[in-house]
């Protein structure tokens, strides 16, 4: 069912890297393909806030020379990557999607993860759209490549849109309440939220200190794992290799399976059935604290955001968007004892999920990544079969936030489409610091579900060129 890539920019990193190293594709050709796609899709997608065209092309020429001399910088040598605009990229302002930072100075250094990606050979294509200060899931003005009248999710919406559209082979996002997994789900790409603390957040503008994580958005789980291996910190060296080939996963009803769009429910239940047929052990594992986990995560997220921004708001509040400003002002009034109560709850909730995994000997739990597909940009609500609707800010985070408060790693992978042809994401959450195991389950799910990472119609409409480009 998957459609084969037809342009170099539609390749996954593993395939592109292989072609680069074998001489079948040059770094410059790959980057040109990405930049051409970017030029064609940006008028509809608006994924980027700044494109580092000249710097990227100069780097590509240098990396081609190095390949010709038989040397590579690492597994990402020559791979064009997009960076969410809350990460520092040396020489470029970090504007965080906020007018309050329109005059931000150029960053003096790369964020830790950007530095690590460059050391592994990645080429930074540019910086991508984020919801203002990563606080939300709409990511205007970015749009969804599967239907440009719809949102790409957020807050890493620009990165997800770029990866789906082929204007980057992969990108970096951040996830405090679902901001990697949500856009990955609604844009039909893979998103990995690592274990809290496994990847440095140095040089990334904070949203909520005790929940912020940095991670990749890619076309395949293999690529997500590859990027993760190159950005994880030394403190995450406890990661255990994925030695087992048999996996045991839990289905944590009811919280994650309530109030879903029918197309999402159908795609996810089909995916679960395919996992069973494929030999994955699937067990029903109710997690009764999941709803409280969402509430707890929401409180910690919002109160810490208010604390992060209180000082900035005093100086530049008039330049903040109304929605974020109202959120910060109101949440600054939340009682301190309520915040402490949420931290107490966090300890209880984390123990509850640990007991769940131990009791059922789970490698992971599986849920829908979002309760609905991409919502219309002019009415950002998820509509349900019973005639009700829910704002995307509440709806999308309902299924993602529980795993921010527990700190465990979680993937979103494409698992099908709804009746409108919009992508549906499957969330897989594993044990802390067991990203390799999580990715092994993700890869098995990719194989069994069989969708791969499909290309949006606007991309397939651009025709076949891969076979001819290298002959030009």
């Amino acid at each position: 069912m998957s459609i084969q890539p037809t342009h170099p920019c539609d390749l996954d990193i593993i395939s592109a890297g292989s072609m680069l190293r074998s001489g079948k594709l040059s770094v410059a050709e790959l980057l040109d393909s990405v930049l051409e796609r970017l030029e064609r899709t940006e008028p509809d997608i608006h994924a980027y806030v700044e494109v580092l065209n000249e710097e990227a092309q100069a780097t590509a020429r240098r990396y081609d020379q190095e390949l010709a001399q038989g040397s590579t910088r690492g597994p990402l040598h020559g791979i064009p990557i997009a960076i969410k605009d809350i990460y520092d990229v040396e020489g470029v302002p970090t504007r965080c999607g906020s007018r309050s930072r329109d005059d931000a100075p150029a960053a003096g250094n790369d964020a830790t993860t950007v530095k690590l990606l460059r050391e592994a050979g990645a080429i930074i294509v540019g910086k991508t759209v984020t919801q203002e200060f990563a606080a939300g899931v709409v990511s205007a003005p970015a749009r969804n490549p599967w239907d440009p009248t719809r949102i790409p999710g957020g807050s890493s919406g620009g990165t997800a849109a770029a990866v789906a559209a082929g204007s980057a082979l992969a990108g970096m996002g951040s996830d405090t309440g679902g901001s990697i997994r949500i856009p990955a789900s609604v844009c039909g790409v893979v998103g990995l939220k690592p274990t809290f603390g496994a990847v440095s957040t140095g040089g990334i503008f904070p949203l909520s200190w005790s929940l912020d994580t940095a991670g990749p958005l890619t076309r395949t789980v293999d690529d997500a794992e590859l990027l993760f291996r190159n950005i994880r910190g030394r403190q995450s060296g406890r990661s255990s290799p994925a030695r087992k080939v048999q996996f045991r996963v839990g289905i944590p009803r009811p919280h994650f399976f309530e109030r879903l769009q029918p197309g999402v429910a159908a795609a996810v239940e089909t995916a679960i059935a395919l996992l069973k047929v494929g030999g994955v052990t699937v067990v029903e594992t109710p997690w009764h604290e999941a709803s409280s986990a969402r509430a707890c995560s929401y409180i910690i997220n919002r109160v810490e955001t208010a604390a992060v921004h209180k000082h900035y708001l005093e100086d530049r509040g008039d330049l903040y968007g109304v929605e974020l400003r109202e959120r910060i002002e109101s949440n600054a009034l939340f009682p301190a004892t309520g915040y402490i109560r949420a931290l107490q709850a966090r300890a209880v909730i984390t123990r509850s999920v640990a007991m769940l995994f131990d009791k059922h000997q789970l490698d992971a739990v599986i849920t829908p990544a979002t309760p609905g597909a991409a919502a219309p940009a002019d009415h950002p609500f998820v509509d349900y079969a019973d005639g009700t609707e829910e704002h995307v800010g509440l709806a999308y985070t309902r299924l993602s936030m529980p795993f921010n408060v527990t700190g465990q790693p979680a993937l979103s992978i494409p698992c099908g489409f709804d009746e409108r042809g919009l992508p549906v994401g499957l969330q897989i959450a594993g044990r802390p610091f067991a990203e390799e195991r999580l990715c092994a389950i993700g890869k098995r799910a990719e194989e069994l579900i069989g969708y791969g990472t499909p290309l949006p119609p606007m991309v397939t409409a651009m025709g076949t060129r891969l076979e001819t480009e290298s002959e030009d």
């Binding site: 406890r238 604290e289 409280s292 959120r327 600054a332 931290l343 490698d363």
Partner: protein, 77 residues
């Protein structure tokens, strides 16, 4: 100032009104102009509703999770 509290699960969550927002913002040294007070009421009540949901948990004996504690080990392989 109207700010009622309940502790038992299953009861209505606490509710703040515009007067409460005005008192709280003054005490916190935050200026919320009249046109944004209604929005602040709605958002703070949403937060209090989420706080009320934590009443379902038994947390009185639990110390706050001030650091991430990955004590449930990565799988044994």
């Amino acid at each position: 100032m109207q700010m009622s509290r309940t502790k038992k699960a299953g009861m209505a969550p606490p509710v703040v009104d515009e007067a409460a927002i005005e008192h709280l913002s003054r005490a916190a040294g935050i200026t919320i102009p009249p046109e944004r007070v209604a929005g602040a009421v709605e958002r703070l009540n949403d937060m209090l509703t989420f706080l009320h949901q934590l009443d379902d948990l038994e947390i009185s004996e639990s110390a706050p999770a001030s650091n991430f504690d990955p004590t449930w080990e990565a799988d044994p392989g």
